[in-house]
């Protein structure tokens, strides 16, 4: 199968994301489509990575882990960048949608990042001989997880929704420093980790499997963020009294 085939699948999530600003409730109807594509993409990607790709010259069988590790870490970074965007959006115009989306993307980013980092550690054991090297990329990724765990903890520890939203938006905005650190840490310190993974440097036979899996995880992330967003909105409904509760305006004095 040529390696561009899975890219066709990108049309669905990208199309939906582009259409979202114009049709807010689009995901209510089509999230199942994305979920189906996630299952399909991850399923095909995993199948190809496990059973179709031959072992690589240097890394042997463990190269197959890449098809799960890289997409999850990439999508975790994407979620964190989304968190930054939503935080900025909230600071510019106070929007509860932005606040909920920021919370959701931080949590999903934390989840994907945690699994992705763990997979990196599993991959490191047979390849580098140890689960954890004090490699800057690994360590800064772990530090990023701590930061977003702290972000979510602060949200838990703040009762007033309005302050919580402002504070976490400020945290999310400042936090953009961290993904940049993760990205740059390889350059700043001598690293054992690959500088970057592009289809050229990665094992070519794996590219198709990797792309299926990456697009599958992208869809999965959107579905997860959407579902988490609904939970956040529901919680806000309970916590934030709507203006309707105020009743009719009182007569002027």
């Amino acid at each position: 199968m040529p390696s561009w085939v899975p890219l066709v699948l990108l049309l669905v999530p990208v199309g939906i994301c582009l259409a979202l600003p114009f049709k807010r409730d689009l995901l209510d109807k089509v999230w199942l489509v994305l979920a189906a594509e996630a299952v399909f993409g991850i399923g095909v990607g995993t199948y190809l990575a496990l059973f179709s790709v031959p072992p690589e010259r240097d890394m042997g069988e463990v190269v197959r882990i890449f098809a799960a590790h890289v997409p999850q870490v990439q999508n975790a970074l994407l979620a964190v960048v989304l968190n930054f965007g939503c935080s900025l959006w909230f600071l510019i115009r106070k929007s509860w949608v932005a606040d909920s989306l920021a919370e959701s993307s931080a949590e999903v980013g934390l989840y994907l990042g945690a699994v992705g980092t763990a997979l990196g550690a599993i991959w490191a054991k047979p390849t580098w001989g140890v689960y954890w090297t004090w490699d800057p990329r690994l360590t800064s990724a772990a530090v990023m997880l701590i930061y977003y765990a702290g972000y979510l903890a602060l949200r838990r520890f703040t009762d007033n929704p309005d302050t919580r939203a402002t504070w976490s938006a400020a945290l999310g905005t400042f936090g953009i420093v961290i993904p940049v650190t993760v990205y740059k840490s390889v350059v700043w310190m001598k690293s054992m980790h690959q500088v970057q993974s592009s289809p050229e440097t990665v094992y070519p036979q794996l590219v198709t499997a990797f792309r299926f899996s990456a697009i599958g995880f992208l869809c999965l992330m959107i579905v997860f963020i959407y579902q988490r967003y609904r939970i956040a909105q529901e919680q806000l409904k309970r916590e934030v009294a709507p203006p309707e509760a105020l009743g009719a305006p009182q007569g002027a004095a």
Binding site: D159, N160, P161, D162, R238, E239, V240, A241, P243, A245, L246, G247, A248, P249, Q250, G251, A252, A253
Partner: protein, 219 residues
């Protein structure tokens, strides 16, 4: 509304699931004095904080001393004084130093600030405690110093939240005198207190709040 000390329309403030102020509309003319009454949690403190621009209303329009609060809070803050439950004092600075910091912030030179602080300490009866850190003060003395802080600003609109709290009978008498002086100088007053009798004697208008709404005062 140019001569209004403040004018609020439909002002509402939300604390999470609860509306502390619900569509409050009210205005007060300059030079008048307002008695603000209501039970605990009726929204008195919230209203005072909003008028002082210490917090912003969730909904509604607010004009204080001719300035719209959405167009910048600093012009309002320059002319409004708030005597709050919290004293705003630094525990580790002396009484004089606390006043000097404020005096400098409102634009006095160092010399003016020192002189004004001394004069103010004499006026609130703390001259002897000039160089004692606030940490050693009793609750009543803190209140006096907080009043000194308020007077130092010479506000056009003075917001007093429970000014009689924590004061002994003599202190209450002195506070009444200070408030009367303020009113005589033409300062617009908003006085939130549970001591309705003292309050009534000092004020001309009345606003009674229940659950963040305006209701006619019984009694």
């Amino acid at each position: 509304m140019a001569d209004a000390a403040f004018h609020i329309v439909d002002v509402s403030k939300r604390y999470g699931p609860r509306w502390a102020l619900a569509r409050l509309t009210f205005s007060l003319e300059r030079g008048k004095s307002l008695l603000l009454t209501g039970h605990n949690g009726s929204g008195k403190t919230t209203l005072l904080k909003i008028l002082a621009t210490a917090m912003s209303p969730t909904l509604g329009k607010l004009t204080v001393l001719g300035h719209d609060c959405h167009e910048g809070r600093e012009p309002i803050r320059e002319k409004v004084g708030l005597l709050s439950h919290a004293s705003f004092l630094y525990e580790d600075l002396t009484a004089a130093q606390n006043l000097v910091v404020l005096a400098r912030l409102i634009g006095m030179t160092d010399g003016e600030a020192d002189a004004t602080a001394d004069a103010m300490l004499t006026r609130v009866g703390l001259a002897k405690r000039r160089d004692h850190p606030v940490r050693q003060f009793s609750a009543g003395m803190r209140k006096r110093l907080a009043v000194g802080r308020l007077l130092l600003k010479r506000p056009e609109l003075a917001l007093l939240d429970e000014p009689f709290g924590e004061l002994d009978p003599q202190g209450i008498g002195e506070m009444e005198k200070l408030i009367a002086e303020l009113a005589a100088q033409g300062t617009t007053l908003v006085l939130a207190t549970h001591l309705v009798d003292q309050g009534k004697a000092l004020t001309t208008e009345r606003l009674h709040l229940e659950e963040g709404r305006r209701v006619e005062a019984r009694a």
